[in-house]
Subunit: 367 residues, 2 copies
Amino acid sequence: MPVCRKFSGIVSETAQFFIFGTTISTIVTMPNVDLKRLAKELNLAVSTVSRALRDSYEISAETKQRVFELARKLNYVPNPYASSLRKQKSKTIAVVVPEIANNFFALAINGIESIAQEKGYHVLIYLTHEQFSREESIARHLQSGRVDGALVSLSGETSSFDHLNDLKQTGVPIVFFDRVCETLNSGRVTTNDFESGMVAAEHLVERGCRKIAYLSISNNLSIASKRMDGYLKALEKAGVPHDPKLVLQCSANDNEANYKAIVNLLKKKNRPDGIFASVEKLAILSYQACEELKLKIPEDIKILGFSNLETAAWLNPSLTTITQPAFEIGKEAAALLFKTLEKKSMNFSDEKIMLNSKLIVRKSTGN
Amino acid sequence: MPVCRKFSGIVSETAQFFIFGTTISTIVTMPNVDLKRLAKELNLAVSTVSRALRDSYEISAETKQRVFELARKLNYVPNPYASSLRKQKSKTIAVVVPEIANNFFALAINGIESIAQEKGYHVLIYLTHEQFSREESIARHLQSGRVDGALVSLSGETSSFDHLNDLKQTGVPIVFFDRVCETLNSGRVTTNDFESGMVAAEHLVERGCRKIAYLSISNNLSIASKRMDGYLKALEKAGVPHDPKLVLQCSANDNEANYKAIVNLLKKKNRPDGIFASVEKLAILSYQACEELKLKIPEDIKILGFSNLETAAWLNPSLTTITQPAFEIGKEAAALLFKTLEKKSMNFSDEKIMLNSKLIVRKSTGN
């Protein structure tokens, strides 16, 4: 490491701790000096400081010298967890998902674990319960370096991404799956949500529906808006006029409110003759609402939902689904993350992978 | 701390690190000296050494002096993660469960998170996929001190408990829930499995069944054997002779083999007229097997299962279940763990809590 040698004269014992060897020699705690403070004092980005301290080839010799000098002066000590991460590898990855009482995530996690197991990695699962505040708190928690990388599927409330960008800047690569962030430069694994939304609505139109409700899960999520775009495209193609009142913006985490909203929608005089549920739980709530209102499926109303429900075929009536390759999505996302982890550089992959979902026709949409 | 003062004269700076203050003053790494080595040289149990170093009142002054002296001589340094655990708290707990594609665990985890959230703790979820080797590996991983405590539901393969005892000995309290270890002295939260097994079998007898199959999940698990004891008791009380051929020992993780075994059981000349599935997935496989064999539920065969399936009421026919208070179990287990964590001593609670499940009669067991 010629660049490092160049600075060895000015690097203190403390600095040696994080720049050179893997052995902890001396730790003097100075808890208030962190990357942010260094960055502020030097008028640099946190990521630049972080890379300079890691002797990244992306950072100029001049900048590195400025960073090292200030680090020495302020007795900067890296977080021991974070240091363990970069030098000693935690051999652990995090999976951050909104919920697990959803077969899509349960299967995707199994796919992730199948790859992690091969690689000898542990998988930590974190639940956001669809809440932005929890997602933020988890991202902060992960900055302490307890994992080598993270696989993230966004909460329904998430519309800003600083917390994830910060995590990335501390050297933790992120790969998004299913509910992805389109503005952050990261690996992503999705399904063909637009096409699937179109296929779903076309199927309902084919089965005679003209007033198709779309139950959306969250305005923020790319999956919900893409599925809806597909739905709108299908209506347009079929010459079915779009009625905005048939689009129900459901809550990501308030099932009771969602249930009431669906019941209200179905009570209306001009009620829908078809329901397209953008996520599994909204399809189940629709069955429940139909039971309460004594609406027969598929005679009075047809129902189709995105779902990986294991019992879809044994429901009464069996549920027509758009089924995502959930296990495969998990596998591909994990493989993409390990590709980044196995690279030496901090140039994280921003590869995009798209897999295809499929329509499985069952009795809930009639014959 | 009078006992500590007594030894202050012979305690080195290194020893001071772990016995007194909360500030790390000096760390000299000597990776080969660990608790096990100290224990071996002193001919003491690892747990005794660990407690002596933590200045536990359970350990005599003489023993403490021997331990401190050797620790100083060998420059023993506690694992920094483990040390972080005891002094600086990771504010994180682990949940170790066999699977999540099971509504019981999904709900129990939600219950756990509701308490952890209140306490400002993060929850890490680890999956064993019903494999003993994974459970062992996770327990080792947790020994590094990344969590303050663990909530564990055993894998179907687990029949020895050294890995969990070792974890406990490193200072990580464990509370078991549902699938508990009966030989380890730890907090436990269970349901009334024996009574529920009895209620389930009595219900099938009442509905006219005389050849009731019991689908067991694993010989090792207390839940499976208690539910079976209840089933046997109910048969005895009703004067229905017990046929051991009707007890199917299913695999904890091979659903394909389980499916074949159920189909074979139902193909027999003297096939059962009732099925009591000890876990959710075996009830679903039974529906599938009945469909393949064109057996009508409940006319040809009645089915009842332990289950927290959200869609149980919408199955065709709706499934009669023994439903566990899964969310409550998670809450109680987490509360018990925090009770231990909030205590100053290492005397872990071994409190036992039992909650009641309930029978929910639906159409799969007829009228």
